[in-house]
């Protein structure tokens, strides 16, 4: 379980996170929504410690620390048990699909190449790309690259996977194949935090939705509470803008 309390992050004078509280239970799928610039990416990046938060408190299974007094151990724990899936896929372009997945297994987790290859093949199969194992990122479509990136994250078996707008850089016809894979991962019981503007998908897949505004949580609750029954004018306005249509809701058949 991750419990984040009063998290603050500024870039020079710009305050981006102004006291975020967030709890993610084991096996839970948490959606984070909000306008562009509200701090969604920064929040995920602070959890993955790609950015160093300024203050706040984090409790994550075996570690419990004040951010301003984080030890190297605390930071390493956060880094090694969380993995990010990025909007731009960020595959290593000189490595094949299979090598991309093996890299962390061999270099970080010190598994033998043989074992790493077996694991990588398993996850490549899970995302339906066994036949693309030896392709370089430049030889894959955006949707395929993102599926490899998801396999790369999954293979390391982190406690939490963080998705930062995983379909925003994709051509429309590729969005579904990636969402299907994410949905499969969610069903398998993996703990996930997902930032996305695909409201129907968020509605279907998430156990909890958090609406972020100006670096603070404006509302959190079940998808229905936040997306359908909210009293908050700001959220109503946001949801209407992103074309959340309830009749589409059942397309993922969860």
């Amino acid at each position: 379980m991750i419990e984040i309390r009063d998290l603050h992050k500024s870039f020079k004078k710009l305050k981006v996170l102004n006291g975020v509280d967030l709890t993610v239970e084991d096996g839970q799928v948490v959606g984070i929504i909000g306008a562009s610039g509200s701090g969604k990416s920064t929040l995920l990046r602070c959890i993955d410690y790609l950015e160093k938060p300024n203050s706040g408190h984090i409790r994550f299974d075996d570690v419990d620390f004040d951010v301003s007094k984080a030890t190297k151990n605390d930071v390493n724990y956060m880094k090694s048990h969380t993995t990010m899936v990025f909007q731009q896929f960020n595959l290593f372009k000189q490595k094949t699909a299979l090598e991309n997945i093996m890299e962390g297994l061999v270099i970080v987790q010190k598994k033998s190449r043989h074992e790493a290859k077996e694991i990588a093949e398993k996850y490549l199969d899970l995302v339906g790309l066994s036949d693309r194992a030896d392709h370089y990122p430049s030889q894959l479509s955006g949707g395929q690259q993102q599926r490899v990136a998801i396999a790369r994250a999954l293979a390391l078996d982190p406690k939490v996977i963080l998705f930062d707008e995983p379909t925003s850089a994709l051509d429309p016809e590729m969005i579904q194949e990636v969402l299907k894979v994410i949905q499969k991962v969610a069903k398998s019981g993996k703990t996930m935090v997902i930032v996305s503007h695909e409201m129907n998908f968020i509605y279907e897949i998430c156990d909890k939705v958090v609406f972020l505004e100006d670096g603070k949580v404006l509302q959190e609750g079940t998808p229905a509470e936040v997306l359908v029954h909210t009293d908050n004018e700001r959220i109503k306005q946001f949801v209407s803008k992103v074309n959340f249509i309830e009749t589409y809701v059942n397309q993922y058949n969860i």
Binding site: M84, V108, S138
Partner: protein, 247 residues
């Protein structure tokens, strides 16, 4: 007339020069490798700008690029013994500069000279590596050193290959100046041989041929490396070609 220019000598000189070739190659490759290591360190300092080191490297690069390599060779040759004397005087130690093989002076001067130039293209190559991949490496738990070694350097290498080839060619040619440090490379050896019959012009033609062949070989090798390194970019090239055809 036959005495003015003996063209056969140009070729008969070459076998005799070959016994000095190992020194030329040794100085070229060792200085080259050191210039890349120092160049990488300087490039990293330029990128991360640590306080004192950054000012020091700025001074070093400016000085090195602003003075001739010949002068730098002399500075090293006369400077290192002076520094040793000074250390001996201050510390009461007893290092003796005459025990330093003269080739060391040449290696130090040439690698430091070349590193100043290399640092610039190495910096540019490192900065050309997409930030996203560096973040992805961090996210899967790779340390900064692992990321540098496994992701940044291999990708920067591809970008830097043409410049790396040029740097090696320049290094091979610069070694002709090592006589200043009392190292006998092919140029210094050639001068010795030519001194016997005063056929200097023929000798310098022979030397030109050897240098030319060395640099040609380097160009060809780097040409092949560049082709091979395009791995992972094949498809993009193909698509671009196709777009060009339809344009």
């Amino acid at each position: 007339m036959a005495n003015v220019f003996d063209w056969k000598l140009i070729f008969t000189n070459i076998p005799e020069l070959m016994k000095y070739l190992p020194i030329t190659l040794e100085v070229t490759f060792i200085s080259y490798i050191m210039s890349l290591i120092v160049g990488l360190l300087v490039a990293l300092i330029k990128i991360h700008k640590p306080k004192v080191l950054y000012q020091l490297t700025t001074f070093y690069v400016s000085f090195t690029r602003g003075t001739p390599v010949l002068v730098q060779l002399y500075l090293t040759y006369f400077g290192i013994p002076l520094v040793l004397q000074y250390i001996n005087y201050k510390r009461g130690t007893n290092y003796n500069a005459s025990f330093i093989p003269s080739i060391i002076f040449a290696l130090v001067a040439l690698s430091l000279n070349s590193a100043a130039y290399n640092s610039e293209f190495i910096r540019a190559a490192i900065e050309s590596v997409d930030r996203g991949q560096i973040e992805a490496a961090g996210s899967i738990g790779m340390t900064p050193w692992q990321t540098l070694r496994r992701i940044i350097i291999p990708e920067a290498l591809v970008v830097a290959l043409p410049s790396l080839g040029n740097a090696l060619i320049n290094m091979a040619k610069s070694t002709s100046l090592v006589y200043t440090c009392a190292v006998v490379d092919i140029t210094a050896g050639g001068k010795l041989i030519a001194g016997r019959n005063y056929r200097y012009f023929e000798m310098y033609l022979s030397l030109s041929i050897i240098y030319w062949v060395i640099t040609l070989v380097i160009s060809i090798v780097f040409g092949i490396l560049e082709k091979k390194s395009k791995v992972g970019e094949k498809e993009i090239v193909k698509i671009n070609d196709r777009n060009k055809r339809f344009a």
